[in-house]
């Protein structure tokens, strides 16, 4: 068994293969030199911590040894020979029985003149570099009002930087986050002193300035692009695997080659809970759960991946969480959870519950989002009035 990619999905696949009873050799090949580490802190705690950050290791050398995993780190895979069941790693050729592609995603790059002046965040070394630049008073221009950009704005203000956040669309978090929640996030950034420039495209970048489409110029010591990620599919494409917004898999997370699987940010798959619509998720829990399912199937299982999508973002003292596919909703039912916390339940045109999104201080919304997530998984769709009534416990609705 060979795994390409040393992130969360790669690490979890090793554990999954052993849990599924595979006792033959397992090799993980990763371009990164570090043992698999956790990425969510890279835009948050690793930047705001007083001490020099160190990576949060998911699978250390001792665990790898006890799982009998051969870790080939700092070694990019250059090619897959699907017919010959081998991969190319430097001068070496490695044979595989089953192969897992857990190659992740990479930051989308700007294309405007001077785009090379913008830096991006993906791995631990990027975080170390950014943290060194986030000095008190530093002028930070962040291009992109998505999660990475907003979390970095929160972290930069915490370190005393002056932040301009530039978003081309009319509002932040336009993709996948309801307007009411985006408005809370927007107001919190304004309160923290972030200059929020929405509805403004970029004309050009220089080393020390951003020129907006409307002609304004924003002086900046650091320019960051956080405009989304694209799946890392080069190896798969060169090997002739089917692609469709990522490496196209079936519900078993098997690619168009029966001996090659994919998991995590690089993997697109049909979701049975949402009409078998093909989706691709860039999310921490998805990477773990997909890797476990893919590993089980590599070891001979036939498990479908049906987990309800879920992710979170932390900014300042606020945490937002989204479960399911709020974008599939036609109607929003609001449930108040506290003075500053609320949950939105998303129902499609037939009244079916398809998503939940919420925001509040700390983890105040976590259990209610979780309960709606479990309802979606079970196909339970309470009426709108019931969902909205804080006197009705969501748990009682779940248990029927």
């Amino acid at each position: 068994m060979v795994i390409v990619g040393g992130g969360m999905a790669g690490a979890r696949a090793i554990i999954g293969l052993r849990a599924a009873g595979w006792d033959g050799p397992v090799t993980l090949v990763s371009e990164e030199a570090l043992m698999p580490y956790d990425r969510p802190p890279l835009s948050k705690a690793a930047i705001t911590s007083d001490e020099e950050p160190s990576p949060v290791i998911l699978l250390d050398a001792g665990m790898a040894a006890s799982l009998k995993a051969d870790m080939r780190l700092g070694k990019p895979v250059t090619a897959i020979d699907a017919a010959g069941h081998t991969i190319r790693v430097g001068d070496e050729t490695l044979a595989y029985h089953k192969l897992l592609l857990a190659t992740g995603a990479k930051p989308r790059q700007l294309t405007c003149p001077g785009a090379e002046n913008a830096i991006t965040l993906r791995d631990f070394s990027d975080t170390v570099a950014l943290r060194a630049k986030f000095q008190p008073g530093a002028r930070i221009a962040i291009i992109g009002g998505g999660f990475i950009g907003l979390e970095l704005a929160s972290s930069a203000t915490k370190r005393g930087c002056a932040v301009n956040l530039i978003e081309a669309l009319p509002r932040i978090l336009m993709r996948g986050v309801p307007q009411e929640i985006a408005a809370v996030v927007h107001a919190r950034h304004v309160a923290a002193g972030v200059e929020m420039l929405t509805g403004t495209g970029i004309a050009a970048l220089a080393a020390d300035a951003v020129t907006l489409a409307d002609g304004r110029t924003i002086a900046a010591d650091v320019i960051i692009a956080g405009i989304g990620a694209v799946p890392e599919t080069k190896l798969a494409r060169d090997a002739g695997l089917e692609l469709d917004n990522g490496i196209a898999c079936d519900t078993h997370l098997r690619t168009s080659d029966p001996d090659i699987f994919a998991a995590g940010d690089c993997c697109s798959f049909p979701h049975p809970l949402f009409g078998n619509k093909r989706i691709r998720l860039e999310a921490w829990r998805n990477a773990q759960d997909q890797a476990s399912v893919a590993a089980e199937n590599m070891a001979g299982g036939s498990k479908s991946y049906t987990a309800v999508p879920w992710f979170w973002s932390d900014q300042y003292e606020l945490s937002l969480q989204i479960a399911g596919m709020p974008g599939d909703g036609a109607e929003i039912v609001r449930r108040t959870l506290g003075p500053e916390a609320f949950l939105l339940c998303h129902r499609d045109g037939n009244g079916r519950l398809v998503g939940a999104s919420g925001i509040g201080p700390g983890n105040s919304i976590a259990r209610d989002v979780k309960l709606v997530e479990m309802m979606i998984a079970k196909g339970i769709s309470p009426g709108a009035e019931t969902l909205a009534d804080p006197a009705v416990s969501l748990k009682s609705l779940l248990k029927g």
Binding site: Q288, W312, G362, N363, A366, R367, K370, L371, K395
Partner: protein, 104 residues
């Protein structure tokens, strides 16, 4: 040495629910199970020190609100990744309408 302190009144927690209880700079989580028994554990998840009292109790399991680590709150047993270290538990007794825990 045993050191019994009052955490809450009986009925102060819903059945199949959890409450945060802070005492002397320490934080605990107090549970009431579906069969109406009370339990106590450390208040912070062994994974990344998140308050478990914001999490969801289903049957005898508490799930961390942040990273979905699960524990059996009756004995503190970690139920798999991302949590691998068990939660510390504390003795509980109900006396005179009060839920007492031994933090000693």
């Amino acid at each position: 040495m045993a050191q019994w302190i009052e955490a809450c009144a009986v009925g102060g927690i819903d059945e199949e629910d959890v409450m945060r209880f802070d005492h002397d700079g320490r934080t605990f989580a107090i549970y009431r199970s579906p069969d109406d028994k009370y339990y106590a554990t450390d208040g912070l998840c062994t994974h990344e020190k998140i308050h478990l009292a914001d999490g969801l109790v289903m049957d005898n399991i508490i799930e961390c609100p942040k990273h979905n680590g699960r524990f059996d709150y009756r004995n503190g047993a970690a139920k798999g990744a991302p949590v691998c270290i068990d939660l510390k538990t504390y003795p509980v007794k109900v006396e005179g309408g009060k839920v007492m825990i031994d933090v000693g």
